[in-house]
Symmetry: none
Subunit: 195 residues, 4 copies
C-alpha cells in the first residue's frame, strides 16, 4: 500500500541531505549514495523523485533561491514604514538571512555559481536570481532617484551585497554579518543622498 503524500517529505529530506553533503565534502564529492545515506534512504529513490542527479541539484538550488526570496519578502511585508529606505534595508538584510549565511548554504551557492557556468538550466536560474536582486533594488531606488541614477545605484548595491556575502562566505567562520550590514547601510545612505 503506497504511503500517500510522501513526495514533499522525501523531496525535502533529499534536498537537505544534499546541502549537508555539499557542506561536508563539496559538490564534486557529494555522490548520490552519500546523499542517500545522509537522507536515510536508498540510492534508487533519487531517480524516483528527481529523475537524476542534475534534477536533485536543480531542486536544491531552487530551494535556496526560494528561501532567499522568502527572507526578503517576509521582511518587507512586516515593515511598519513603507519608505524606500526601509524597503532597501529589508532587501539588504534579507540577503544576509540565516537561511543564506550558514555553512551548507554558502558552500552550495559557491558550488552552484561555478557549476552554473557550464549547465544552461542552472545558468538560467542563476540569472533570474541575480536579476531579481537588481530589480528589487532598482524599483525602490526609482521612487527617489531618476532612472539612470536608480539603475546605477541598484547595480552598485547589488554588487556590494554579493561582494560582502562572497567575502564572508570565503572567510568561513569569521563572517561578521553586523559589519557587512553596516557597510551596506553606509553605502545606501550615500546612494540615497546622491540625488
Amino acid at each position: 500500500m503506497p504511503k500517500l503524500g510522501m513526495q514533499p517529505i522525501r523531496r525535502k529530506q533529499l534536498i537537505h541531505a544534499t546541502l549537508e553533503a555539499v557542506d561536508q565534502v563539496g559538490m564534486g564529492d557529494a555522490s548520490i549514495s552519500m546523499i542517500a545515506r545522509l537522507a536515510g534512504v536508498s540510492n534508487g529513490i533519487i531517480a524516483h523523485y528527481f529523475q537524476d542527479k542534475n534534477g536533485l541539484l536543480e531542486a536544491t538550488m531552487r530551494h535556496l533561491m526560494k528561501a532567499l526570496n522568502q527572507a526578503v519578502r517576509t521582511r518587507r511585508e512586516q515593515l511598519a514604514d513603507d519608505s524606500p529606505r526601509a524597503h532597501l534595508k529589508a532587501i539588504i538584510e534579507g540577503n544576509f538571512d540565516d537561511s543564506q549565511v550558514n555553512g551548507p548554504a554558502m558552500k552550495t551557492w559557491l558550488a552552484f555559481w561555478a557549476f552554473s557556468m557550464h549547465q544552461p538550466s542552472l545558468h538560467r536560474l542563476q540569472r533570474i536570481n541575480d536579476h531579481r536582486l537588481y530589480s528589487n533594488l532598482c524599483c525602490e531606488f526609482r521612487r527617489v532617484l531618476p532612472l539612470e541614477k536608480a539603475r546605477s545605484a541598484a547595480r552598485g548595491m547589488a554588487a556590494l551585497i554579493d561582494g560582502l556575502w562572497l567575502r564572508g562566505a570565503l572567510a568561513g567562520d569569521d563572517f561578521d554579518i553586523e559589519q557587512a550590514l553596516q557597510l551596506a547601510d553606509d553605502y545606501l545612505d550615500q546612494l540615497l543622498a546622491n540625488r
Copy 2:
C-alpha cells in the same frame, strides 16, 4: 642528458591547458586526459611535473593570483601621480585587468572559490589573495583616513570590487567593465569624501 629546461615550458603549457579545459567544460569535468590532450602531451606527464591533479590545480591558481598581483603592481608602478586616490584607482583597475576578466580566468576563479572550501591548501591561497586586496586598499586609505575609517573603507571597497567582478563573471559576455569601473570610482569618491 635529455632535453633540458623543459620544466617551465611544460608547466606553462599545462596551466594554460587547465584554464582552457575549465573554460570549456568546468572544473568538475576537466579531466587529466582532457587537459593533457589540450596541451598536446601525454597523461603521465602531469604526474611528472605536478605530482598529481591537485598539484596542477594549485599551480593554476597560483598562476592566476600572480597575474592579478602583477596587473595591480604594474599599474601602480607606472603611476605619475603618487596620491592615494591614484593608487586606489590603480588597484581597482588591476582587478579588472584582461588577465582576470576573460572566460577561462573567470570560470576558473569561480571553480576555485567553491573547491577551496574543501581543500585546505587552496583555502590558504584563497585567504592570502583576499587579504592582499584588503591590505593594499587599507594602506592607501590609511594615508587619508583615520584607522577605523580606513579599515571600513577597505572592507567596503574590497567587497564592491569582488561583487562587481562576481556579477560580471556570472553575467558572462554581458560583463560591462567600464560600468563596473565607474561604480567603483563613484564609491571611491564617497569613501574619500567621508573623512
Copy 3:
C-alpha cells in the same frame, strides 16, 4: 526489493575466481577485471561485496584458512581412537587435505605469505593460522610429554609440516603427498618415543 541473498553466492563466486586467477597468472597479475571476468560479473561488483581488492584478498585467505581448519577438525571428529597419536596424525593429514594441495590453493598461500609481510591485516591472519597449527600440536603432545618437550615437539612438527608443504608446492606437479605423510609420520614416532 532486488534479488535477495545474493551476497553469499557472489562472495563464493568471487573468492573462487580469485583462486583461479592467482593460479593462472599469480597474485601480482590477478587484476580486478580478470577476477571479475573469471567470475562472470562486472568489475564494480567487487566493491559492492568486498569494498576493495584488499577486502577480496583477505576474504580469500580466510576462506583457505577455514578450509584448512575444517579439514583438520573433520578428521579429528571422525577418529575412532582418541589417542594423542591418532589426533596428531589427523592434524598432519588435515594439512595435506585436497583443499590445501591443489594448484590454486598452493599458489595463493605462497602469494599470501609474501604479501602478508607488508599488509598488517593479512599478517595478523597469518600469525593466527601459524599459531593454530602449533597450538593444536602442542595440546596433543602435552598429553604424553612434559611441557618443554611438548613445546619443542610441536615446534618441530609444525616446521616439518610447513616445510614439506612448501617444498611440495614449489615442486609443482611432482608433489608426492604420500611421501610427505610418511616423513611426518616417522618424525612423529621419534618425537613420541623421546619421552
Copy 4:
C-alpha cells in the same frame, strides 16, 4: 670518458637497492624508480645493466642463492672434523646464516617463491636451489645410511630446514635461530641413529 669497471659496482648497488625496496614495501610495490632512488641512480640505468625489471629480479635471486651457497661452503671448508655429522651440521647452519635470516633476504625469498610459480626462468632457479639443499644433505647421509634411508633423511631434513626458516620468516622479529638450530640438530641425531 667512460668510467671503466662500473658494471660490477652498479650491479651490486642495484641488487642491494632491490633487497631494500622489497624489505620496505614488498615486491609488488618495489618499482623501478623506487629502486633507482634507493640506489641513488637514475631510472634508465636499470635497462642499461639488467635489460629490464625481470633481469634485475633474477639477478637479485641469483645473488641470494650465491650467498646461501657461499655460507654453506665456507662452513664446510673450515671444518676440522670431516665426519658426515659435522658436514650436515654445517649445511644446516649455513641455511641460517646472517645473509639468509635478515629482513630484506627473508622477504625477498618469500616473494620469489610466490613469483617463481609464474615465471619459468625464476622457477628453474628455484628448483636448482631446492635440489642443491637436498643433494648436499643426501650426499652426506649416504656416507652412513643405505640409499633409500639417505634419500628419506635428506628429504625430511630439507623440509625441516625450510619449514623452520619459513615459520621464522613469517614470525618476523621473533625468529629464534638458536631454537631452530636445536630442533634441526635433534632431528639430525634421530635420523643418524636410525640406521
